[in-house]
Symmetry: C2
């Protein structure tokens, strides 16, 4: 039996961490997951992660070679290999995460933030194959973005380019966990959608299934289900979210003029409920020369695997070049 | 006497067109200008331009070789060589401008929009020498921008990347000549500054030299002079303009994370009156990871020559590579 080349892709989220062994064609041959446990130190987390990975490896019942480890993590800095001030994690100001992993594993280790990883995944294994200019937005608990220009991920002078979640929608708007006000991710994210629905419940008198729920019960998933059934208020919450998203996407197009903007992450699974009105609003906000040059599409990667594929793409893209 | 290599740089504006012969070191050895006459067809304009250039050439009293012609023009498309729907010019929907010039002149002809030319000029001859990530904003009658990522001008999928003048400040805001509302250039430009001053005259009761002028007499230059003398209302107009500029620059940083943002064009000559408050506001609107990574600076090119140098840089950058 031929030895199979594999890359370990690890996606570290605020709540869960997923990992998987990915071959050169982008097939996840084995995967696993563990709770991130945000109170853990980085060391403690890595020890647990390592145990999980070692246990999983036993499932690889064919000869293989591990070619590298790619990691997607919040606030990761690609060239420094660090994770810096990650929101919701007790890892301190700066952890040399790549070094900590390398300490235990010999092969090449590379790290970047989750949205950049998603963009690389889309480029290598998804809908952006062969594309020179595109962008990926991950919309879930927060809003992240990875921007590709001339076939390369944009890191910029700081190494942190592409934090569209913290562009300004309204300078006097909703407080953001980053300390600023009115950031895009306070409107376009799972908590943002919930907040918009709650505001509409207060300000409008339309009947809605949301009125039968306690505030605690109202989640983005519930709003999605109600909107799918035609609930007027839930639909209005999606429409308002889509308008803000469309407006800021038009701004993004004015910067780097992508051919496609891909949406991924939990909230993007609302599909056409978000995508269609966002595309319409984006077109109305687009400067004339851009109209007809840019599409808004769902990620072409399987939702459950896109984060792992993105992390693995970080290594595969370097090995394939 | 040694033959000198020269590039002809042409900057076409809505009112005036300037041109100059530029050597490899970025010295303008001879320059000229003519009114653009917006009602002229592109053909008629080029015939006049050609006559002016031929007449100027007589001033080149040393042996030289013309290595190419670089052109900065509104709504120019670099790879197509076209000027498309230029605002304030009677050139129709699409003119193959590079071909029309090539028809009369043998050497290589290259065209791009004026803000992209400004960015190339800054990179070759100005403050961005050796820089990988920066941005140039030209603030005058309108607001244009040229974005450089990884040492290369960003053109994007449409070829028109970097139209920051048409990002949205307020979706219900001032009507823009582009047909949208609340575009950045309706606030941050010479006419935008005047409009802001007029609004402040209406809404505030502070004493101001502006109250002694007719609306027609109030120009950005007058507001600049009054602000320099401490006029509270004129200063407030600059402050409001700087706040909007700072907010949208922070958004721009979140996209491509430049090391420096250079300001050029008529309004930017207000210098510290605009630059200092814009820098302060930008910092308050910046997402944490970007703070301290980006500077706002005036262009290092001589104001009267920057547009010509930019246009010439279009050819020199291709010849130097």
């Amino acid at each position: 039996m031929q030895t199979k080349d594999l890359v370990l892709g690890i996606d570290i989220g605020g709540t869960n961490t997923a990992f998987g062994f990915v071959d050169r064609q982008g097939v996840v041959v084995l995967s696993g997951a563990l709770p991130t446990q945000p109170r853990d130190s980085a060391d403690a987390f890595i020890a647990r992660l390592y145990d999980h990975i070692e246990a999983s490896k036993r499932g690889l019942v064919f000869p293989y070679r591990l070619c590298g480890i790619g990691i997607g993590a919040p606030n990761a800095h690609h060239s420094r290999g660090t994770v810096e001030n990650p929101p919701n994690l007790n890892w301190g100001q700066k952890v040399d995460f790549a070094a900590l992993i390398r300490h235990r594993c010999p092969p090449p280790v590379s790290i970047t933030n989750d949205a950049n990883a998603a963009a690389l995944g889309e480029m290598l294994f998804g809908g952006a194959r062969g594309m020179q200019h595109f962008m990926v937005l991950t919309i879930g608990t927060g809003l992240g973005s990875g921007i590709v220009v001339d076939g390369r991920l944009v890191y910029g002078a700081s190494g942190f380019a592409g934090e569209l979640g913290h562009t300004v929608v309204d300078p006097d708007g909703r407080p953001c966990s980053c300390g600023k006000r009115g950031c895009l991710e306070t409107y376009v994210s799972a908590p943002g959608l919930v907040k918009t629905a709650l505001e509409l419940l207060e300000s409008q008198h339309k009947a809605s299934g949301l009125r039968d729920m306690s505030h605690k019960e109202i989640t983005s998933q519930k709003i999605f289900e109600l909107a799918g059934g035609g609930d007027v208020l839930a639909l209005a919450a999606f429409d308002k979210t889509a308008r803000i998203l469309g407006m800021k996407l038009a701004d993004a197009v004015a910067h780097t003029s992508p051919e496609v903007i891909f949406l991924t992450g939990g909230v993007s699974r609302a599909g056409d409920l978000l995508l269609k009105p966002a595309q319409t609003y984006m077109n109305t906000f687009l400067f004339g020369v851009y109209r007809g040059t840019v599409k808004l599409l769902p990620s072409a990667l399987p939702p459950g695997e896109s984060a792992i594929l993105g992390a693995a793409a970080l290594i595969w893209s370097e090995l394939t070049l």
